[in-house]
């Protein structure tokens, strides 16, 4: 409802607003749509359209079948799924424990908190990071994609702020009933913060799924490449997917194969997005503002 004091917008003003917002939305949606359509298009569609297809008139899953028949893509998906699931689980456990322990006035709480906050101010740099990962023997291991990202300062701040707002009386009364700190965390804090924990978990998961540079830096072994590196190599850099990587002849149009790779990288994000969108506003604003 428009409040009484607000003047009715002039048609011209409304049109400008519509063009700006509509244009912005279209620029986001159209490329994604074209990619999906092209990945589903038949060879004939692609040749008729001269490359890209806005709407596949003969939709087919051939590109995906070809892509998955070879080992390359399947392996990359396994790697990405492993890194995302294990990474998110570890990162959540570490971050929740640390955020809870520093959310109350306890022994060592302050120095540890400052240790985390300092990471917001300064970044150690690529070279020392690489040397440390190498020294720990993690080069060419999938753990190099998981462990360095296991504690995000931003996610920590979001969780800690939320935990701090849990009333102290609640924890005090549980303690009087004989609950240990572990019990309190498991039975009181975590059930109360389910939504925030879910959002932070999804932030971690999206981060692990999207990470690209870590893999470039730490993995020489191409059989351990995650989906993002495959996307870069075979689509962005245009290296062609050869028949022995795919196994099936004849190959569909390279265009639809490439777009199928793009869709594979996109789909998991699109799947969790509705959930993320429902809750993240709260998570982001209770925590802090960063980037």
């Amino acid at each position: 409802m428009r409040p009484v004091w607000k003047e009715n917008p002039s048609p011209g003003y409304q049109a400008i607003k519509g063009v700006i917002l509509g244009g912005f939305a279209l620029v986001i949606v159209v490329p994604i749509l074209v990619v999906i359509s092209t990945s589903l298009a038949s060879d004939k569609d692609i040749i008729d359209a001269g490359g890209y297809v806005l709407w596949p008139s003969h939709p087919t899953l051939k590109a995906y079948q070809t892509l998955f028949s070879g080992g390359l893509m399947g392996r990359a998906i396994m790697v990405s799924v492993f890194v995302t699931l294990v990474g998110t689980a570890i990162a959540l456990a570490v971050t929740i424990a640390l955020a809870y322990a520093t959310s109350r006035p306890v022994l060592f709480g302050r120095p540890v908190l400052l240790m985390v906050l300092f990471t917001l101010l300064f970044a150690p740099g690529i070279i020392p990071m690489f040397l440390v990962v190498k020294q720990l023997g993690l080069l060419d291991s999938l753990w190099s994609l998981i462990l360095p990202g296991a504690l995000g300062a931003f996610n920590f701040v979001v969780l800690r702020t939320f935990f701090m707002n849990v009333p102290g009386e609640l924890l005090e009364s549980a303690r009087i009933d004989g609950a240990s700190d572990f019990t309190i965390l498991r039975q009181i804090i975590m059930p109360l913060s389910k939504a925030v924990i879910a959002v932070v978990g999804l932030f971690y998961a999206v981060g692990f799924w999207n990470a690209f540079f870590n893999a470039l830096l730490y993995l020489n072994d191409t059989s351990k490449w995650p989906v993002q590196v495959i996307l870069r190599t075979y689509v962005l850099q245009g290296k062609s997917l050869s028949a022995d990587q795919l196994g099936v002849e004849p190959l569909p149009q390279p265009q639809s194969l490439q777009m199928a790779v793009v869709v594979v990288a996109l789909v998991p994000i699109a799947m969790v997005y509705p959930f993320l969108q429902r809750h993240f506003t709260k998570g982001v604003i209770t925590g802090a503002v960063k980037g």
Partner: protein, 317 residues
């Protein structure tokens, strides 16, 4: 942003250490995994920056490589590639600040003025999505749309026009980079301004309207001042981040545009150090960047305090 005072007042300072330990040992146990991660993957690398003061040889390691004082920094000073990278970084950061920063504010103002909630939700759903896509995906989508064989240039060719090298022209690269940033993050950055706008007291608008203030005067005298704290906060964060301009975005496009336009401090560090094997120069560039970035953040934050804004790192009162 970070409430520091809350935890201070209740620390039961009177207890002896042993009693505190007996009370808090479980909490300390919960801190251990996180602290180990911080030590291994943050503080150890921070110390590892000493290779910037060494003639580092991988087969000798940090312990046995020779120290060479400021030699690496001096040779950076004489290295034209480093200055190019620094210049590109500052140029790109400046262009981003100028062209990107106002976009989310403008979008938020328009979205906030929409009366229909449904329309507003629709737009937000679409606008937030790209933030969650990886840079590889974003650059790929741009390449497929604007690249030499992309669909815009396909259309141009069909229409008998010359294709435009959006993705490979070094001169327009800063604009391309900002366009990508706007595509990916302008919608997401809008979120925080929208949240700030909902906290504005509606009676202010009503009173101003009753006194005869039109739409623009209300925006200038009520809306924008109430966004000031958030704007300052985000500006500080951007300034602290100015030397980091989006590493993945550049490393992905350095090949197609060339290092002349796309080499920034981070890519310089990577190519000189990891790819080129000149570990010490890379580390020196990385360390210089980290220190200057921290100083910038610190400086911007103090400036905000002086201007009477809360900033990010709050002063203890």
């Amino acid at each position: 942003m970070l409430k520091r005072s809350a935890s201070k007042k209740q620390v039961s300072s009177g207890l002896p250490l042993a009693a505190k330990w007996r009370r808090d040992w479980q909490m300390v146990l919960l801190m251990i995994p996180g602290v180990v991660f911080l030590l291994l993957f943050f503080y150890l690398p921070v110390l590892g920056n000493v290779v910037a003061f060494q003639d580092f040889q991988p087969y000798l390691g940090i312990m046995h490589s020779e120290w060479n004082g400021l030699q690496n920094f001096l040779s950076l000073y004489d290295n034209p590639d480093f200055w190019d990278a620094l210049r590109n970084t500052l140029l790109l950061a400046g262009v981003q600040l100028l062209l990107f920063f106002p976009v989310p504010i403008g979008l938020a103002l328009i979205v906030d003025s929409l009366v229909s909630n449904r329309l507003r939700r629709w737009f937000q759903t679409i606008a937030y999505l790209p933030h969650f896509l990886s840079w590889v995906l974003v650059v790929t989508l741009f390449q497929q749309s604007l690249g030499g064989a992309g669909f815009i240039n396909n259309l141009l060719r069909h229409a008998g026009l010359d294709p435009i090298p959006f993705m490979t022209n070094p001169d327009t690269f800063p604009l391309l980079v900002v366009a990508q940033l706007i595509w990916k993050d302008a919608g997401w950055a809008m979120i925080i301004f929208l949240a700030a706008l909902t906290t504005v007291d509606v009676s202010l608008y009503e009173a101003a309207a009753a006194d005869g203030a039109g739409r623009w005067r209300r925006m200038w005298h009520i809306t924008l001042p109430s966004l000031r704290t958030v704007i300052v906060l985000l500006l500080i964060l951007r300034i602290g981040d100015i030397l980091s301009v989006g590493f993945e975005q550049f490393i992905l496009q350095r090949d197609s545009v060339g290092p002349g336009a796309a080499e920034v401090l981070d890519t310089f560090t990577y190519y000189a150090g990891v790819v080129g094997g000149d570990w010490s120069s890379g580390a020196a560039a990385g360390l210089a960047k980290g220190v200057v970035g921290a100083l910038l953040l610190w400086g911007a934050n103090s400036l905000a305090h002086r201007l009477g804004e809360p900033g990010i790192f709050q002063r203890r009162s």
